[in-house]
Homo-oligomer: 342 residues x 4
């Protein structure tokens, strides 16, 4: 059975996923596309033999759409996800699930009321081979009980539209999700430390930031977010346990010796860093839709838990901010696990 | 368009490729399967919704077969490849292309007479991201003109049926092919040096062996083949040029510190080492069949060039043996290049 | 000229320095030794052809003592250092310079009044080749203006007498000194974060601790102190600047591949980690004494600046604690620099 | 007791050793210096408070010379070493011990006749911490019985006076000595393979060369000697045994990430690569002279065994050349071992 997918939002991330679903993933085809720009939707749809439809609601309702992919503008995510749940169809929503905790909770409630998991959120790091191998080491007890995690998320540069709050809302969400999954634990408080700002970019921006998270189990996480680090896209993660530590591998790259240096290349963006993770994410999601089983990836609850509100408050107040999460519904038991590495 | 593929030989490598074509590769489906064991063929075929056919000739002739995959016993390869050429269909043949240089040349001649490339041989390393990145470094001139290559091919262990000649015929063929491609050069002589044998395995076996190749451009290659090295499956390759060197990366793996050691895992077999290369190989081949263009991968000429006869003679004689290849037909101009890394 | 050195305190660190001064360092000889245990002092003195003297004051006053090495119990350091200054002789004092900030300042004042630098404090990391190479990278501008430093200090285990306050007073002092030198900057505030405690050791102990320092220039430092990490003695330091980062090297060690792992050894104590630094420290100090020039290593001011009082307060209060240092006397201009790597 | 050393030959290597004996090594002083250029000898001698003497024979005979260091022109080594043996004094001779096997054997015979070891040859790699750690791994059985060694010796460039034969005589001697020591084995045959020459330097030179050695125990060694590799001074050594392998570490150096690359520096000459080995070598030799015990380092027999005549013949003939060594006198039993790493 080929899963027929309708896509809401044909911006560049939407287009990249359409390419992936059409040419990389087996068992999927894109049958309907919509976009605010109707002409653009028509062009993209034609390129893959799909129909262009006027609105997201049309895509959700279309009889030749088995499942929906939401890649529209963030503030519209909640509306489309809720409508797809109402239609009883599986929905894959790019992060963020919604732009407020309230909207995330509305989705959680709707899905719980529906009685079966329909929602998967696009946190692809759980599908990265390096993170999965790291989780295996932790789960196998090779480093003992985790006590601390040291992380860094570095981009070479960001556009001028990037704000200090986006360090939490757009950038750190990936770390928060993958750390919750890695540790099978919840974040309970956050503090943000503000180093001297880089002079390389953007006067309005607090860059870098160091985010300090505490989990329910008492694990302490420090996360450097530095989005104008100049030299490359660099993701670091080291988990220290009672008897050892494990470090996320850098991508494999040939080492070169020339002109007095031994070096390897550092990748320059996330497309180079996580291509296989995106493919695995959509392959597993497609398979779960085809099999009519619950998605194995990040849930609506995970989408809610990764919301960066507390981190932004911590940045703005300079204080330690408690993370006031609702209790996790039994519906989401099994919790933070996800991806086939379980 | 979905490419319909007929498979000749449903042993474990055949079955693995059937799985790949069915579940991993987009745009391909297996429609016909044959095997010496008809019941087994029927079972495998049923599992993927294909027909079982009595003989390889039936598969080649079947109207719902657009292209043929030969994964039968080595000595039967030539017959099936020649028959597929005669039928004017594309054929992917697992290595070796044939078990003698003569048979390889018959295939080369048949394909040349046909007037268009139909044959691709299963040397998957050209599709490995590490080798491709290494080739980019070389082709970009970052290390200057290549002068030497130091290689190692190590398996943890081999079955008792493995013979000393198989070090060249079965194991080193992969290195020879990827080195010809990496350097865009031909091997002109070979010598085999025989170190003290490992006492860990198999009295009948000369293991390890060090193969010394010379290329037409004067590059010297030393290749350690050690198929009972105990510790893991380990592929090493370092190319030294006039101004620098480049080293094939080891697979990315988390580093662990515990109990007084900092370590990473070494993979244990080629399935763990090259999975993405196999996928890319078949994805690119399927695309070339769908587009009715020449395959971009290793050609019949490459299959001929990798034949290990001279290396076996060198092992048995203890002498330097010249590699007496025919001149490359203009038909194969562009030569050793292959794979999209060109 | 051979520098004649008198040693106050012949415990194991004193004995190790006596061995070093006698057998490793050129241009030095130990001529007098004292210890609370007179018989022990006699035995140690005899072993290197020196005299045993009854008290530290006798050592300081002895005419055949050109310079004094203080390796007695910490609380006695201030008294001996002050007496040596009063005698106008150079003095090398193992860390800590004194056990209170007040005593450190008394020494600073005495030395300033004397009008010439006589005191060097035993912070040997400034003499480590790895730290020196790291400082060269920073000073050369290769990573731009420093913004953050991520550090870890891990011991495999500590004795039961170790207290939570000693993480700052005994362990972190080394990091604080080397960071002040590396960055040429002063620490202005500190906070201590307390992760879940390791269950491996010592109920009375908060282990690990994460210390967060802010410098006058706005650099943010996070330092993990984990003194029962089980796996080894591991010192990590990564400085992130506006355009790049530099990481302290691990000690060079052969890599081994066996039994499915590629590994290197992790050292087990500081004697294995910093032996060459201790040698260089004493060689340079001896040379400065012989030349009658100011010592090039850590000064009394550095000894004062490394005092861990604020960190202990931060640990005990759970708050951010400002570091209230006196203004640096002009006498110590040139400041935190030290060691020949300047 | 301070060992009084007379130095024959005050060229730059002689001067470097004089500096080392005077300022780095404890228990040694240089009391006499000679050089072909008498004015130069006077200047060097004055600098360290020694006497200049007219000839090497004068140095050997001087009553205030306890031991002799020979750092003169290679062809004069044998004469001075023999004279020092005749005088019954210890002698440290920089490599080569002599420029012909015959002269080496004359020294071996003279020392044997004298009845006690007096000669040490300047192969300093046995004192390098990396090689010593590698030998410990091998001797501890961690990789099983050694079967193969892969080595490389690369210099960034050599002067125009360097000849193809010097690759064996001057460069590979260090590898041969350290390999004999590492494996506790003797070389029995050699072959030289000649890759395409680098175009970067020196038309008269065969550079690089690959030397293939066979040992008495059947170990096969391949050694790349590439003396104009441009990028740095790079020494590689990997020993492969029956159950694992061990690789010589590169020198520790900070890793830097900047401008899209992660890199470390490669050293540019042997002075940067082996400084601690030279210091350890002379410190141990001085101690053995002071203690009037046999030197623990490379012996006259080791000097004889490292002579590169067979390698030069192999290069010039293109053939495999047997190494026809005399039987080792019982006097040198214990054999290739040396250095305190035993």
């Amino acid at each position: 059975m080929t899963v027929r997918i309708g896509v809401i939002g044909a911006g560049w991330i939407g287009q990249d996923h359409i390419r992936r679903l059409t040419h990389v993933i087996t068992g999927a085809e894109v049958t309907a596309v919509t976009d605010l720009d109707a002409a653009h939707a028509a062009e993209v749809a034609t390129g893959v033999g799909a129909r262009a439809l006027p609105t997201g609601q049309d895509v959700i309702a279309a009889p030749d759409v088995d499942a929906v992919l939401v890649t529209s503008w963030g503030p519209t995510h909640a509306e489309y996800v809720l409508a797809t749940i109402a239609a009883g169809k599986p929905v894959f929503c790019e992060k963020p699930l919604a732009t407020s905790a309230e909207d995330c909770l509305r989705i959680v409630e709707a899905e719980t009321a529906y009685g079966r998991r329909l929602v998967q959120v696009g946190f692809m790091r759980r599908y990265d081979a390096g993170y999965r191998a790291m989780k295996q080491v932790i789960d196998a007890g090779e480093i003992g009980v985790p006590l601390m995690v040291h992380c860094a998320h570095r981009n070479p540069t960001v556009p001028a539209s990037y704000t200090s709050a986006m360090a939490a809302q757009d950038t750190a969400v990936h770390e928060i999700d993958v750390l919750r999954w890695l540790l099978d634990d919840e974040i309970v408080s956050v503090q943000v430390v503000t180093p001297r700002r880089t002079s390389k970019r953007l006067e309005h921006l607090q860059d870098p930031q160091i985010m300090l998270f505490e989990t329910a189990n008492g694990v302490r996480i420090d996360l450097e977010v530095f989005v104008n680090c100049q030299y490359g896209y660099d993701i670091q993660c080291e988990t220290v346990g009672e008897s050892g530590l494990v470090r996320l591998p850098d991508p494999a790259s040939p080492s070169v010796r020339s002109a007095g240096r031994a070096d390897t290349a550092v990748v320059q963006d996330w497309r180079e860093r996580f291509p296989a993770a995106f493919d695995a994410e959509f392959q597993e999601w497609t398979a779960s839709v085809a099999a009519a089983t619950a998605p194995t990836g990040p849930s609506a609850w995970d989408g809610y838990a990764a919301i960066g509100d507390a981190t932004v408050q911590a940045l703005e107040s300079g204080r330690i901010v408690g993370v006031a999460m609702k209790d996790r519904p039994a519906f989401y038991a099994g919790g933070t696990a996800g991806g086939t590495a379980r």
